[in-house]
Amino acid sequence: MWRRVLFNAQNVQQLKNVNLRQLAAKATAPKLLQLEQVHIDEAVKLEPALAIYTPEIWRRAHETFQNHGLETMSFLRIVTGNPNVLKRTPDRIIHTLEIWRACQFGENLLHLLLTKYPELLDVTDAHQLLTLSAYLKSRLSTNKNVWKVLMNSPDLMAQPENLIEEKLTYMFEVMRIEVPEIVKSSALSLSFEELRCRHTFLVRLGLFKPRPLKADPNEPTTNHRLYQITDTSEKSFVTKICHVTLPEYEAFKDLLARELERKSRKTQVEEEFSDEEV
């Protein structure tokens, strides 16, 4: 694992600077530099838990974030989303930001990520985060893809690596879906069982055909996109994507669970037998 992390650190990915500059230019347009009492009042209205902090704390935290390139608007969004940030000392905030910076998403993308999910600032274990991001990079090939995946499913931070691996392997090998499609969906937020159930249901309905291994990659598939399959509620998945009724899917879930359980029990028994023979 360490080797992977080091390898990752050496292999600094050149982010697409053009894109970044565009984003940066857009962000600079309406700039708020000062934290005013109006902002604080608004934030407290949104999140009453913020009322306990003194103006001094507000100012200090704002300054810290501003020094690290986050605008006032982003700062306000972060504190309303995650009030506990204000409790922390500037050193701790900086430490967390440094950990995130080590993932090398690029400043602007990182700010977008942190503004969208302020809870990500609760990270304290640098080793864990870097391990995760290095692992994701090894499967998804670029840092930008890792960022996209985190934007779509931030709960990856809390998932153990073997579960993520299971899902990714399933998507790559069984569903035969390529990286660009995976990072555009929040498929990794789903549990493996649910992902498999939805996919199997589509396959049995005849609505999902895995791409042939020799197929031309430019040829568009007739399958539904992954985000349509995974980023929908159960009801809209069943009625809009599969065009069947909800009771049918409910029954299918039960039946599939039983079928898989039976299959796994069978293979277990077979393995025991083969061990005895040897």
Binding site: R204, G206, P247, E248, F252, R258, E259
Partner: protein, 511 residues
């Protein structure tokens, strides 16, 4: 301790692993072949509804439990009820009450004269033929040669109107319509393929040696898949009467338990009872319908023409009505399976049943010759068994070497059904059933058999319309709407009630 297997695994790791696409590619097996055929065939027959059936067929099916009357009946019933199962009898009772309360508001039964299934099958046949032709003449588009197309006969679209009590004699042979006058044919064929004309200046001598080709070299054994669909005919030249079945009685002593629609719970495996027989029999839910609709009455002599594995025969025995049941099957092995089931479920099998009230016979159902001697016959013919062929590799009829057997299934089925019609006493009735969704094997076979017995033996029969009585079962099963079927009823596979497919048609021989 060092195991041999561990060394093998160790060695395997040194190989490069499966990377090449042709290694990774899933090898096409019989189930895939079956699924492909079904997708094509049923997709065009059932349209958008096929995908629901497809998912249901590919998923585990649902059982019902038939309580053994020769065991501890009360105990078994209460055990099943404790698990939440419901007796079908009480469901029927409820449905009957509901129906009576609903008044006789919709009594008028308008049998439709035209079935859209006919058109669908016709277009499917045409499509299949075109595809086969295209497979033989692959470069049709390249060299500008037009593949031979099906001639369109003007009068072919004959309105097949068999309303109730229509009895047209066999005079109206369809072949009359196909003969055109020669001049008319010549006029139609004016557009000749110029490239094939022999120029007289090169001499016409060669033409005398010309022998027209009748088959393609290397493909003498080839069987066109479209042949199969030709078994489905729409022209009627035998007296056909369809009338609603008058009454339906649920057998008093029969206890069959099921879970309500949407509940996918499983039954407990059967236990040994005090009498030494097993407590209940688990079977596909749709299989109970053909013997139920056969309506065996006390004192009747009944034949089960293709009995194995015995679920339906056992059900008829459980009604306690039977006088004598003859179980017939072709293969010894299947008959042995049937014997085993009977031994497990019938009390005092050796003394009271074997050879006396329960008779086994091993022969092809087409060769049985005790004509006019049975009151009731259950004809559960061999078919493509749609659920089985999609799930199991062994004994799969979609094996490439069995293609001829598969394509001729309707012929076999019609042969069996026609012979069974002859075995019936005049006035007796039979139920023909298959576990296939294919209209060729269902309505097509009934049609063929009725035509055959009329042409060869002058036997006429009437079809009983069961749709009024199947409505009683609509809480448990999902039925095909009566519009889609001509001669029978069908249980469709449906995920919350994953029974079937099961087609059944009741036919009564005229006295």
């Amino acid at each position: 301790m060092l195991k041999i297997r561990n060394i093998c695994i160790l060695q395997r790791r040194w190989k490069s692993g499966k990377r090449r696409w042709n290694v990774l590619q899933h090898k096409r097996n019989n189930c895939d072949r079956a699924l492909e055929t079904f997708d094509d065939f049923y997709g065009s027959v059932y349209g958008g509804r096929w995908k629901n059936m497809r998912a249901a067929l590919l998923t585990e099916h649902k059982y019902v439990a038939m309580v053994n009357n020769f065991g501890d009946t009360e105990q078994t019933c209460s055990m099943l009820e404790l698990d939440g199962a419901i007796n079908i009898k009480s469901l029927i009772q409820l449905a009957m009450e509901r129906e009576e309360a609903g008044a006789e508001s919709n009594l008028l039964l308008n049998r439709h004269a035209h079935y859209d299934i006919d058109d669908k099958l016709e277009s499917l046949l045409r499509k299949q033929q075109e595809r086969e032709v295209a497979a033989i003449y692959p470069t049709a588009a390249d060299d500008g040669h037009v593949p031979p197309q099906q001639l369109s006969y003007d009068g072919k679209k004959k309105e097949d109107s068999h309303t109730e009590a229509q009895t047209d004699s066999g005079k109206e042979a369809p072949s009359v319509e196909f003969t055109h006058s020669l001049t008319k044919a010549l006029e139609q064929d004016v557009q000749l393929d110029e490239s094939r004309l022999v120029d007289p200046q090169f001499g016409t001598g060669g033409l005398y040696e010309y022998v027209p080709a009748s088959s393609i070299k290397g493909m003498e054994d080839w069987v066109a898949e479209s042949k199969h669909y030709k078994y489905y005919q729409t022209s009627t030249d035998f007296p056909l009467i369809i009338e609603p079945e008058a009454i339906f009685q649920y057998p008093e002593h029969l206890a069959i338990y099921t879970y309500e629609m949407g509940n996918c719970a499983e039954f407990k495996p059967p236990r040994q009872c005090l009498t030494g027989v097993l407590s209940h029999f688990l079977m596909d839910g749709a299989s109970v319908l053909p013997p139920l609709f056969l309506q065996v009455q006390p004192g009747e002599r009944v034949l089960d023409a293709c009995a194995a594995p015995g679920g339906k025969s056992l059900l008829m025995l459980q009604t306690l009505h039977l006088d004598q049941l003859v179980c017939n099957d072709v293969q010894e092995s299947r008959l042995n399976k049937l014997r085993r089931v009977m031994q497990e479920y019938l009390f005092d099998y050796k003394q009271r049943w074997a050879g006396k009230r329960l008779i086994f016979s091993q022969s092809d159902a087409r060769n049985l010759d005790e004509y006019g001697s049975y009151d009731k016959i259950l004809v559960d013919v061999p078919c493509t068994t749609d659920r089985h062929v999609l799930m199991h590799q062994d004994n799969n009829i979609f094996k490439p070497t069995r293609i001829k057997e598969r394509l001729r299934i309707p012929e076999l089925q019609a042969g069996i059904l026609a012979n069974c019609l002859r075995l019936l006493k005049p006035g007796g009735s039979l139920v023909y059933s298959t576990c296939s969704l294919s209209p060729v094997q269902n309505d097509g076979v009934v049609h063929m058999a009725l035509q055959k017995v009329f042409n060869e033996h002058g036997i006429t029969a009437r079809i009983k319309d069961l749709s009024q009585h199947t409505a009683l079962f609509s809480d448990i099963y999902r039925f095909e709407q009566p519009k889609g079927l001509k001669y029978g009823q069908m249980v469709l596979p449906y995920l919350p009630a994953n029974f079937g497919p099961m087609y059944f048609s009741k036919i009564t021989r005229n006295s």
